[in-house]
């Protein structure tokens, strides 16, 4: 009996290295151009972010191959670069978008959060290279599917909690009213667990973000993100809005809170990308 020929099919290469997924940040507000940046064209956001990522040891270069340096020991890191810009063709016309950055987050270590704090640090540093930033909002897409395989150890069930004491809790002079909107795409992964998510955020982030209110909002009240819906199964149908106070209005506190929301959401079973928008109230 003749053997059946099995034709080759697309698949996963043996040397595949899996990432956590696409991470996206958009900064909103005003940008007062620096006097030293008076040349045209404007410095490139991609180049600034890329170079800052290398300088700080955050760029993962292990996806490269095939060049004359094949076989070299390449840098591991937190992300590999995708794209960046000052404007985005998909940004809504009436928003004050000042910059955006898209990376592929590397696989997350079991005792580390998605690297939102360094990601926002890098984004803000690159943006501040061309002007003084007055942030009004930060929007972050978190690939929570990248946390599914993370086996959180007992000492770090929510890894961001290891760094909570960095933040100056209880200083009313720098505390800032803020609202946090959390949405998934076309599904109801976030809104279905709104109360449990808020409870976890309260118990974990109290002192850094002190929540006052919780409500469900419709899509019309969401700040539309400046990227394609294919990244997160958007546009969102509904979202969850928490209003309260951030202990300080910095990308660090926004990043930390996003890391906590990410792990809290993953613990509650969310496996899809989640969009977090933190706005100064």
């Amino acid at each position: 009996m003749p053997k059946r020929r099995i034709s080759a099919q697309p698949g996963i290469a043996p040397e595949a290295r899996f990432s956590a997924g696409t991470m996206f940040a958009a900064l909103y507000g005003t940008l007062d151009p620096l006097a030293l940046v008076d040349h045209e064209p404007k410095p490139d956001a991609h180049a600034l972010f890329y170079q800052r990522s290398i300088a700080m040891g955050w760029l993962d270069d292990r996806s490269a191959g095939g060049g004359s340096e094949a076989g070299m020991n390449r840098a591991s890191g937190l992300w590999s670069m995708n794209d960046a810009g000052w404007n985005h063709p998909l940004a809504a016309a009436d928003t004050d978008l000042i910059s955006w950055f898209q990376v592929e987050a590397s696989r997350v270590a079991d005792d580390r959060p998605l690297p939102v704090q360094p990601f926002l640090q890098c984004a803000a540093s690159a943006t501040a290279r061309v002007g003084a930033i007055d942030l009004s909002a930060v929007q972050i897409l978190l690939p929570l599917g990248g946390l599914v395989d993370a086996e959180r150890p007992p000492y770090a069930p929510v890894p961001a909690m290891q760094t909570k004491d960095w933040f100056p809790a209880g200083h009313q002079s720098i505390a800032t009213p803020a609202q946090v909107v959390i949405a998934s795409g076309q599904g109801y992964a976030v809104t279905d667990i709104a109360d449990q998510l808020a409870d976890q955020v309260d118990s974990l982030s109290g002192g850094v973000f002190d929540r006052v209110t919780l409500e469900l909002i419709e899509s019309g009240a969401l700040l539309l993100p400046p990227f394609g819906d294919q990244f997160w199964g958007g546009p969102a149908l509904r979202g969850v809005r928490m209003q309260g106070h951030l202990c300080e209005w910095t990308t660090d506190s926004i990043g930390w809170l996003s890391e906590v929301v990410g792990d809290a959401g993953a613990r509650l079973g969310i496996q899809c990308p989640v969009l977090i928008t933190v706005t100064r109230a």
Partner: protein, 78 residues
């Protein structure tokens, strides 16, 4: 300059699925100038892809390098 997308197959081959048009890029524009190779996905099953970039520097001799970036993407093309 141009780039091409290659999809991994179970016979351990990388098969070309799309290439961008050739374009002469300005220096120092970061991602401001780019070439784009596009292919629609048939489904969203995770698959290994490589993006090869071929650069001919104006006024310079070519090298034999064939560098790429590899990513595992939720996109499969048959």
């Amino acid at each position: 300059m141009y780039n091409c997308l290659y999809e991994w197959y179970t016979d351990n081959s990388w098969r070309q699925k799309a290439c961008s048009p050739r374009k002469t890029l300005r220096p120092y524009t970061g991602s401001g100038d780019r070439t784009v190779a596009r292919k629609n996905c048939d489904n969203t099953v995770q698959t290994s892809w490589r993006n090869h970039v071929d650069v001919d520097v104006v006024g310079e001799g070519d090298t034999s390098e064939w560098p790429y970036r590899q990513a595992e993407v939720n996109c499969r093309v048959f």
